[in-house]
Every structure is written in structure tokens, then in C-alpha cells.
């Protein structure tokens, strides 16, 4: 090997050791972006193009500018589905997340044994196929014979119509809570597990009580995972699709219909590809805006330490 090439190799090595930390992160994240550009960005822009047209999927397209979006603003069914979706999202934050956190704290506490029994038990629902689970819940919520109404009857309470206009959203929410609480317990447990025990030991030495430890150690330390759980829950709620559809077909009278259900009804069932794409874009923008807001609240954009 010539001395020149040794020098060159050394130069290359020196350059690499200087630049490795600058280049490597891009290499580490690139697989995602390549696939994302191919399989999401392209289709997304095509959907944007479609949203400026009226088109049943075959034959000529009719360019309507922002016509689909203005129609959307005055479409009573869309507004209804928007409200329903917001209702589910608020419900998820009010019921699923506090319940999941409480369960995770209990399972994680030293008081409790049989931890794996609870973990598995809570996780079972999400493993059940949606179709099978829906059949079970239709039997549970059934107006005439359902388990819940039979239970109420034995307590002397008159039967409630769980799948009618007034209660159907609560029923959907119950199924969603049943299905997704366990996975959030798991997320919170992961977060709790990664809190260094030394922090608690130090606090105990300082005489901090259970509540103080929770308030000043657990909660702040859970921040990254809480942000994750919050964003995922929000995205999941706004994309809710299967449960209202299978449980009540979005009804009655569109009372349980979500935006994603309406998107599907327009874009597929009614073959309004342009209008469906406009709904899709509005939905994506809503989700994006709310996620951004959540990240901002959690200070995710502040300068790294």
C-alpha cells in the first residue's frame, strides 16, 4: 500500500470521525422517510388534487376549486359527524386515560401481586377481533334482552335503549374504553418502569409522602410517555371508524357517525371521490392542528437541554 493512500485513508477516517455524528442520524431515520414519501406523500397530494374536483372515479373530472370545502362547511351531516368525533375524543381523554393511568399505578405499586394477571386481563380486549367483539357487544347492549338491561331489570330499573339516538355515543365510548384501556395501561407501565428507583429512594429519605412522590416524581417523569399516549389517543379518536360502524352503522339518524365513517360513506359508498378527499384533508388538518397544540403544551418544541 502506498503512503499516499494511507494518508488518504487517515484523512477519510479523520473526516468520518468528525462527521459521523452529523451524518449518522440522517441515515438512521432515512428508511422511514423514503417509505413515507413513496406511500403517503404522493397519494396525499393526489388526494389534494382530487379534493378540488368532483369525480365519481370514472369519466371526466369537474374542477370546482374550493367548492368541496365550502360545501363541507354547510353540510349538516359533516357537522354532525364532527361533533360526534369530538365527543368521542373528549370521552377518551376523560375516561380511558385516567382509568389507564390509575390501573397502571396500582399494578406498578408494591401493594399488588399477580401483576401479570391484570396486565394480560386488561390486554385481552384489544386482541379480540373487531367483528367478534361487536357481535358480543350487540348482545350486551340489546334493547330487549341485552345483558345490561337484564341487569338493570333485576335492580328494578327500566330498560334503556343503549343503541338509540341519546345513548348510542356512550355505548360506542364504552366499547372503545373496553378495547383500548389495556394498551394504555401498558404504555403507562412502560413509562413508570423507566423512572429510576433512586429518585423514590432519595425522596423517601427526605420524608416525602406517597402523594408528594406522585406529584413531584411520578407525574413529571411520566411526561414523555404521557405526551405519547395523549397524541396517540387523540389521533386514534379522530380516526375512529370500526366501532360506530359495526355497532350502529353510524346511526340511528347519524347519531354515532364519525368523520372517518362519513369520509368512507362519501368517498366509497357514494363514489364522491373529490368530496371524500376534501373530508379526508380536513380531518388530517384537524388532527395535525390538535397534535401540534398538544406538543406545544408539553413543551416539545422548546430547545433541547
Amino acid at each position: 500500500m502506498s503512503s499516499a493512500s494511507i494518508v488518504e485513508e487517515r484523512g477519510l477516517r479523520a473526516w468520518w470521525s468528525r462527521s459521523e455524528r452529523k451524518i449518522v442520524p440522517y441515515a438512521f431515520i432515512s428508511p422511514f422517510y423514503i417509505l413515507f414519501i413513496v406511500f403517503s406523500v404522493g397519494p396525499l397530494f393526489y388526494a389534494l388534487y382530487l379534493s378540488l374536483h368532483r369525480w365519481p372515479g370514472t369519466g371526466p373530472m369537474r374542477h370546482v376549486g374550493l367548492g368541496n370545502y365550502t360545501y363541507l362547511a354547510g353540510d349538516p351531516v359533516f357537522l354532525k359527524s364532527l361533533w360526534n368525533t369530538v365527543y368521542y375524543a373528549i370521552g377518551a381523554f376523560l375516561f380511558i386515560l385516567p382509568l389507564a393511568l390509575l390501573l397502571a399505578l396500582l399494578i406498578n405499586s408494591t401493594l399488588i401481586r399477580m401483576k401479570s394477571l391484570f396486565r394480560i386481563g386488561y390486554f385481552l380486549p384489544i386482541l379480540t377481533s373487531t367483528v367478534a367483539a361487536t357481535i358480543m357487544f350487540l348482545l350486551i347492549f340489546n334493547n330487549q334482552f341485552g345483558l345490561i338491561n337484564q341487569g338493570l331489570a333485576s335492580l328494578g330499573i327500566p330498560a334503556l335503549k343503549w343503541l338509540d339516538e341519546e345513548l348510542v355515543k356512550i355505548s360506542v365510548l364504552a366499547v372503545v374504553t373496553w378495547r383500548y384501556t389495556g394498551i394504555n395501561v401498558l404504555y403507562f407501565l412502560t413509562g413508570l418502569q423507566s423512572i429510576p428507583p433512586e429518585l423514590y429512594e432519595a425522596a423517601q429519605v427526605d420524608g416525602a409522602g406517597t402523594w408528594a412522590q406522585f406529584r413531584y416524581i411520578t407525574l413529571p417523569q411520566l411526561r414523555p410517555i404521557a405526551l405519547f399516549v395523549g397524541v396517540v389517543t387523540m389521533i386514534g379518536s379522530f380516526q375512529l371508524f370500526a366501532e360506530p360502524l359495526l355497532l350502529a352503522n353510524g346511526g340511528p339518524n347519524d347519531a354515532s357517525l364519525t368523520i372517518a365513517n362519513y369520509l368512507y360513506r362519501m368517498g366509497f359508498t357514494n363514489a364522491k371521490l373529490g368530496y371524500g378527499s376534501a373530508i379526508g384533508w380536513v380531518l388530517a388538518l384537524i388532527i395535525f392542528g390538535l397534535s401540534f397544540f398538544q406538543l406545544y403544551l408539553f413543551g416539545a418544541f422548546r430547545k433541547e437541554d
Binding site: 417509505l35 396525499l44 401483576k115 396486565r119 377481533s129 367478534a132 334482552f145 368512507y264
Partner: protein
């Protein structure tokens, strides 16, 4: 918790609550198990029965004889295993990069990543379908696995866990001359094993239960996955309720087994003390 409460009382309350939730959550599942060995008409019998009048295994037999359950089970398993392994690697690698490096455009790129989670499938469904046809990915497992293999969800999840890995530890490895990939592979990765275990279960489950995408890509019956076959059991003109519940029960088993195998990892946690020594 009130300090005046004895530990014993606290424990009783805690167990009471945990069991109450457990029973509420398990009831539909247990009932479903009993429905797998019932006649169709008994499934809808009111009041419902937990122990069937005439238990039988015909639903399970039908599952294997009429629906080739075993074949589709293997298809699903192959896809799920390949997907999970690749996803764990790519997601933890990218999560590590986002958590432990600062680089230009990082915040922007991360926002894009989050944004990708927010794109509803049905918004891009038709364009995606057209694309898959044009790329010639129809009827291949590559077409099923490739688009989702580096999913944003997993990266986000791994990033949040990698945040907890102490920076000093990585720096000291750098001083020892380790390459960045080695730092990721030998130092960071072992520390986030709980998160990896959780992600493994989630990734496997996501792939195992995925329905819409495999359906679009896989046309041949021989290649189809379990959820696709299960969806065909209950429709407008056919209601094999007992069979679909049997299928649902059997198809939870692999994830359940994975969960049991990995759950020790969930509780291991980040042992900072061990790291310091």
C-alpha cells in the same frame, strides 16, 4: 392516598378495583369462548347461557375444514414475524436518532413524522391502491410488509423511551472509540428492552390484525391472512357467528403467547444503578 388508611385497607381497595375492572373487561371475552362451542341459535338465546346446553366443537372443525384456518394462520404468522423484526430494528434506530442526536431540521422532520401518523388511511386509500397496482406489488408479501415497516408510531414510541437513556453513558462509549451504530446496538438498545418488548407485542398485533391493507394487496386466496378470512365469515348473507368467534379466539393465541413470553421484560425497567457501576 390517606395516610390514616392502613396498608391492609389500601390493598383491599386496590385489589377490589383491579378485579372489578378485570371482570368487566373479561366478561365479553369469556362469553365469547362459551359461544365458540354453541349452536348459532343458542348464541342469541335470551337470557344468555354461559355453559352451553349441548357443547360441541363443530365450529372449530368447520374452521379448519371449510376455511383452511391453518393455512391462513401460517400466512399471517410469516408476515407478522418479518414485519415485527424489521419494525423493531428500524423504529428503535430512528427513535434513537431523534432522542439522542441534535441535527439540523430535526424538529421539522419529527413533525413530519408525527404528521404521517395523522393521515387517515381512507384519505389516501384510492391513490395508494393505484400506486400499489402500478408498482407491481399486488399479490406479494413484500407489498404487504414494505409500506408500514418503518411506521411512525413505533419511532415515536421508541423516541420517548430512548429519551430516558442517560447521555453520559453514550458519551463515555464514544470516548472509548465506539461507532455510533455500536453505541445504539450495544448500549442504548439493551437499556430500552421494556419498550422494545412492548413494541414487539404492538407491532406483531398490528400486523396480525391488519385487515384493509393485506386485503388490497393480496388477491390470491392462498396468500390471504386470517383477518381477511374472518371478515368473510359474517356478512349480509352469511353469519357463521360461532365459527368467527372460534377463529377470533384461536387468532388471539399467538399474541397472547408473545405477551406472556415478553412480559417479564415489561417490568424489568431501566436499571440505572446497574449502569453506573
Amino acid at each position: 392516598m390517606d395516610s390514616t388508611l392502613t396498608v391492609r385497607a389500601q390493598r383491599t381497595i386496590a385489589y377490589g378495583f383491579l378485579f372489578f375492572i378485570l371482570i368487566s373487561m373479561a366478561t365479553p371475552f369469556v362469553w365469547m369462548i362459551s359461544n365458540t362451542i354453541k349452536e348459532q341459535s343458542e348464541i342469541f338465546q335470551m337470557p344468555p347461557t354461559l355453559i352451553p346446553d349441548e357443547p360441541h366443537l363443530r365450529n372449530y372443525v368447520s374452521l379448519f375444514e371449510d376455511f383452511d384456518f391453518h393455512k391462513h394462520f401460517l400466512n399471517s404468522a410469516f408476515i407478522a414475524v418479518v414485519h415485527t423484526a424489521s419494525h423493531l430494528f428500524l423504529a428503535s434506530l430512528a427513535g434513537f436518532a431523534f432522542a439522542k442526536y441534535s441535527f439540523p431540521l430535526k424538529n421539522f422532520l419529527f413533525l413530519v413524522l408525527l404528521g404521517s401518523m395523522m393521515v387517515p388511511l381512507y384519505t389516501i386509500f384510492i391513490p395508494l391502491f393505484v400506486l400499489v397496482i402500478r408498482l407491481g406489488l399486488v399479490d406479494s408479501y413484500a407489498g404487504v410488509i414494505l409500506p408500514g415497516v418503518a411506521g411512525a408510531f413505533g419511532i415515536f414510541f421508541m423516541k420517548q423511551s430512548m429519551e430516558a437513556v442517560p447521555g453520559e453513558l453514550l458519551d463515555s462509549a464514544r470516548i472509548d472509540g465506539a461507532s455510533e451504530f455500536r453505541i445504539y446496538w450495544q448500549i442504548a438498545l439493551p437499556l430500552v428492552r421494556p419498550a422494545l418488548a412492548v413494541l414487539a407485542v404492538l407491532a406483531f398485533m398490528g400486523s396480525w390484525n391488519d385487515f384493509v391493507w393485506p386485503l388490497v394487496v393480496l388477491r390470491s386466496r392462498e396468500l390471504q391472512t386470517l383477518p381477511v378470512v374472518m371478515a368473510g365469515m359474517v356478512n349480509l348473507y352469511r353469519m357463521e357467528y360461532g365459527v368467527v368467534m372460534a377463529a377470533s379466539l384461536l387468532s388471539t393465541l399467538p399474541i397472547l403467547l408473545l405477551f406472556l413470553a415478553l412480559q417479564k421484560q415489561f417490568v424489568q425497567g431501566l436499571t440505572v444503578g446497574a449502569i453506573k457501576s
